[in-house]
Symmetry: C2
Subunit: 439 residues, 2 copies
């Protein structure tokens, strides 16, 4: 049932915390039928490989491919797609790609080491993940920006083989998606989707290379399949509905704030848009702007459902209290739309991305500011981070003990190992102290 207006909460009311936690709650999507279907698809891919992949692809995407080799799109077609889009689109994609690249260059971790007095060397070696699979949803919800945001950090990290998969329902592939893949230096593209694509990337088939990690958004089947293959391969995260939290001092035009709330709500009926402001009058203005602008929006149906069922306008005591509430909500996107956002930044601990000042709409960050738009949802910014170059690099500890170091450390390790009842550990250390076992 859709409510008839947006929720209004007041942080001074007694039951505020309860109401807030109810607002944030999402009914969990443990769907048994999805689990069953995905489990059986994954098993088929694992056992009969390409044969199952072809069957599922033809069935779910309503196409009829005979040979698995036809599943790959040759690079010449990507280039054609790039040449087919408008000059403005191409230019915009190029600017976005450049800025994303520039930002992510700052995230590269490098190997480090240090030498101790006795010559012992300790450090950490950083290497890129070798092969990565990138899932890109097909059909209408095909987002070229998603290709850039996932592929560019992988390539900045040095991933040697970036395999993109994207289904072509009824044979359709969005040329903007192919153009974005060409621009962001994806290595190969296969027209497969759903749990069957995730399985093919995780286990490998004759046609699809087995990868080390799978990233990218997808529907409930893709999400469950990713969870299921986790361990065999790495995965990025399993994203929930998108969220925006706006802290506003009332100095940003109300219409801008209303539209920022819309921009999250238009994604999905389950998306969540919340405003925190200490200015009751401003909140009223935003509510009026919502009413005025809503009918003009092409996606007003989705926006209405999202905003009225899951959105809220919240009156807070002051901006500092707003920050405390923001840390509890731990939003995916946080706009600090105030005159002096820097003053508030120090109070913010939990947020995927922080958009500061009235000119920084979330939509600028979604496409082209530079930072990644793949962000932790559902309060997970309490413990996780935006997708980044660090998700495509891994670390190995480096330990090179000198002869003197082994004498010093061997005694310590031996003492602790015997305390834990692990005598082979102790003996192995003792051999390095004086060549013999002494327990």
């Amino acid at each position: 049932m859709t409510m008839t207006k947006i929720n209004f909460l007041n942080s001074s009311e007694k039951d505020f915390n309860l109401k807030l936690s109810q607002l944030l709650k999402i009914s969990s999507q443990d769907d048994n039928s999805i689990e069953k279907i995905v489990t059986s698809i994954l098993l088929d891919i694992q056992t009969i490989g390409d044969k199952a992949l072809l069957q599922y692809t033809n069935k779910f995407d309503r196409i009829s491919i005979k040979n698995a080799s036809e599943l790959e799109i040759p690079k010449s077609k990507w280039k054609e797609a790039l040449d087919s889009i408008s000059r403005e689109q191409k230019k915009s994609l190029e600017i976005a790609a450049e800025r994303i690249q520039e930002y992510h260059n700052h995230q590269i971790s490098r190997t480090w080491e240090y030498t101790e007095k006795d010559g012992t060397i300790l450090g950490q070696k950083i290497t890129p993940i070798d092969k990565v699979g990138l899932y890109v949803p097909g059909g209408k919800a095909a987002y070229p920006s998603s290709v850039l945001m996932n592929a560019i950090p992988a390539k900045v990290a040095g991933v040697s083989e970036l395999i993109m998969v994207s289904p072509t329902p009824d044979g359709y592939m969005n040329p903007l998606v192919l153009a974005a893949a060409f621009m962001s230096k994806v290595d190969r593209i296969f027209t497969i989707g759903g749990a069957q694509a995730v399985g093919a990337l995780a286990y490998g088939t004759n046609t699809i290379p087995k990868v080390d990690k799978i990233v990218g958004p997808g529907n409930a089947y893709v999400a469950y399949a990713k969870k299921k293959v986790f361990g065999t391969v790495g995965i990025d995260m399993v994203a929930g509905p998108s969220e925006i939290l706006i802290i506003c001092d009332g100095k940003t035009p109300a219409e801008w704030i209303a539209m920022d709330l819309f921009s999250q709500a238009e994604h999905d009926e389950l998306a969540q848009s919340i405003l925190l402001s200490p200015d009751a009058n401003f909140i009223k203005q935003v509510e009026e702007s919502i009413k005025k602008l809503l009918p003009k929006m092409p996606r007003s149906d989705i926006i209405t459902k999202s905003l009225y069922n899951r959105g809220a306008l919240i009156l807070v005591k002051d901006l500092e209290e707003a920050c405390i509430i923001a840390n509890t909500i731990a939003p995916e996107h946080l706009e600090i739309s105030t005159e002096n956002p820097d003053e508030l930044l120090k109070f913010i601990n939990n947020a995927g991305a922080i958009f500061m000042g009235k000119y920084t709409s979330e939509s600028l960050g979604d496409y082209c500011a530079g930072p990644n738009h793949v962000l932790p949802t559902s309060q997970t910014s309490r413990f996780s981070s935006p997708l980044g170059v660090y998700d495509f690099q891994k670390r190995s500890s480096l330990i090179k003990i000198s002869q003197q170091g082994a004498i010093n450390l061997g005694k310590v390790a031996s003492e602790l190992a015997l305390g834990e009842g692990l005598q082979a550990h102790a003996a192995s250390a003792q051999y390095r102290v004086n060549g013999k076992i002494s327990w």
Copy 2:
């Protein structure tokens, strides 16, 4: 069935790859009964909190506590434990703690930002995770080194509340564990374990604080409970059996290498110890050393089962081929026990920790070299890293667009948003360009 001797493989044989992949395979532990028990324990904790926690704790640990407040061990008891251990043990723990702290200080990430020509500021803010739960197994397998390895990086990261849980079967708590907790600045300790402890940390009860992330090793119940609460809280990793892979040029004493293989095998019957060497004669010496040393080992039963069922001695063409094989195995621990380990390091991509040179036994790294001993197992070093300070920090993107920046970027974002059919995104950007919507 235990084999009667250790496996021998030769990389030049035709079916080597098949044999190797069979050796690495572990029968998956999807145990339905564990799943059912854990699911019901977690539900009880979620619904009746402390009451369920007390019931399960009393039952599984064979104790009889009446009030949940008795589950907390006051700090005075930790101090008593520290004073009760031997001077050598205390000194060894102190040296280990200091070295672990020193190494992990190198892993701290710091907030960064850069300013563009038009005044736009981009960056990333680094913050510690607020509350972390640390699981420490109880009873016989209580490892103080595990406390140091998990607690110190959390505290280096700046975690404000580090809650340790450890069961006390029959009321027993290892004083070394309490001493290590005191030394590594854990904040609170509760005597709970199993799935009920994981649930209490994930959901919170009246007595146990709800945390943001849970780390630390545990049995199959703990591992499954961690998987199950993932999303509600972060988790570190779900570790498989421990592994060592040794590359040796034949210049390290054979007994040392045999003992290094033992030191992994003594953990667990499923632990895996493998040697790669191009020197057939040396492999024979190692095999003889194994036979000679095995009867002397207090844990010879476990070592024998592990070594004969899951271990292997592998003859390779040369050291470079050994590195290629090592990358496929992607071991948790890799010893490069050669005269010039640096020459081989450049070939190694996948390994949790790399121990270089004959003096660097894995056991030194397990306890006191400095790097973490919590490492990716079961070939997951292809895509994951040792536990580190970075596991207790998280990032938030920082975006502060200037007025001029919003004009430049607004056009790009608007173009791309309209291409994706997201008009509110476009409008939100356009407002920042010239204050009005233009589609």
